[in-house]
Amino acid sequence: MKINNSKKVLVVDDDQDLRSLVALVLREEGYKVETASDGKEGLDAVERSMPDLILLDMKMPVMDGWQFAREFHQRYDLRTPIVVLTAAADARKRAEETGAVDWIGKPFDIDSLLEIVGRDIRKARN
């Protein structure tokens, strides 16, 4: 296991396998990972402890990514970066709509996922 300054990432996605995959990969890199299966659970998780970065799926039951992002920005620190994790073809547009700092299209390379997460956490800190 690699040491990764114990940054915390919240993964909000309704697909359990994908959630596990991202969590596994991030934990391998030394991140602390919390998961949530929809926007509402995501807000609960944020309530418990503020993450350093949120990986957010857009299309989810109960509360979708757009609503989560809106609620999150109203309630909390705007500097916590949200990275949109979407299967939609116009991922870039989705990111702009939600005020996310970045986007990752599904399917993705693990290397680029890790690179984006690391980069955006570093950027937010500075």
């Binding site: 995959l21 990969v25 391998e28 299967a87 073809a89 599904k106 399917p107 993705f108 693990i110």
Partner: protein, 530 residues
Amino acid sequence: MAMMKLSKKPGTASAGGTYRSRRTRIPPLSVREQSALLCTVFDQSPDGMAFIDTEFVIRAANESFAGQVGVPINSMVGHEARTVFPAWSEQAEEIYRQVRETGQPFRDKSFSFVFKDQPERGVTYWDISVSPVYAGEGDLLGYICLTREITDRRFVEKEHRHLRQELQNVAAEAQERAVEMAAIIDSIADGVLVCDTDGHIVDVNQAGLRIAGLSSKEEAPQNAGDLSKFLDLCHLDGRPLAPEEMALSRALKGEVVRGFEETARDVRTHRQLYLLVSAAPLRNETGHITGAVAVISDITTIRELDRLKDQFLTVAAHELKTPVAIMKGYAQGLLRTSDNMMPSQRKMLEAINRGSDRIDSVVEDLLDISKLHTGRLELAPARVDLADLVNEVVDRLDLTAAEHRVRVVRAEPALVVADRYRLDQVITNLVDNAIRYSPQGSSIDVEAGVAEDEAVVSIRDYGIGIPSGKQQSIFERFYRAHTGTPFDYGGMGVGLYICKEIISRHGGKIWFESEEGKGSTFHFSLPLQV
């Protein structure tokens, strides 16, 4: 004054020498003179005249009569009628007898007769009269026979009647055809609209009324130009369609319009309709435009199905992406975490990773086609140097193409404003094709530069080339030039279609040269950024 006028007129006239006062009396003719005059009248009468005595001996006949019956005067006069005329019959004698008994002239204005000795004349028609001639008190001298041949006139009349009948037949047939035609036009599923040169609607079929939501022609405006407002006709982008932009109006000016798409509103339900309209001028024999006809198809359902299909495609693609992401992710995850993996196991995981990428690229292609087809492909234009882009793409592809040498042979700065991601897609696609259809170990030469005020990128391969018979179709959607040949390396037949569409959305052109067995060179050009 009056006296002076009267006295003057004869004077003036006599000076001319031709004027003869009405009051001037012609001196009475002598008996001899009278007789000579009557003979002349008899001889020169245009009607045939003959005098036949009570014994049916011809006593006198004039030239006209001789001409009409075709017997010289000399052969007639002094001879019995039955010897002169082969057709002289009991029936003829009966006429004369009847005239003698009644003392009344016989008259037949359309007496028909066939000359047996002159069959070439056919049936002849005559206006004849036979009148008794008496000497003094009731002493019958004979008969004066007047004849006038009217065969020509009869013929003309007959012809006339025939023509009139013919005309009636034609009219009846035309009427029948018109009814038939109206029935056919009414049974056509497409709307048919006919107007005259002034744009007045002359005819509209049932389908035409139904499409517009009308139940009778009277509910429609009289003028075709008013339809644009009446039906709220619009271009596909929502701009109102001006009356002069209507297909029918353009057809009236001589244009043949094919497959013009517009939207309309159902008059009754106000539902939006998609219409496909074709129109053509109607011309008479001399080529003058006498009106126009438009055929209107209601393609609302087709459009709706198209939309549903694209929606389905988008949803299906979206649903595919998450499982592909999981497959790809775990394969990569395993490759990363297992240090003591056997080479064969590593190869399997790499294959899963590549397979996932292929599924993803198929899905992406399908999404792109759907977006291009419905015009929803959004471009994000930015300044792009094609030389940079070409170097970048070639570096990436040369790494993955182990069996080919992909190289940049020329890269001169060529600045364009374009969607970098989409141009990358085009170049990648063209290079992928070049690799796919050329032998292992061969080169793929890529160049970028400026030619004739345009930015041009060319990709050359030394492969199998495209058979000349298939060259015109290769940019069509789903066309696969190598289907069923030993060179069928798979694929959906969409790559070049996507390339062409992307380049044309950028205002550029794409073309190629190819020779079977020698290779192909694909080029695309884009407007230079100045």
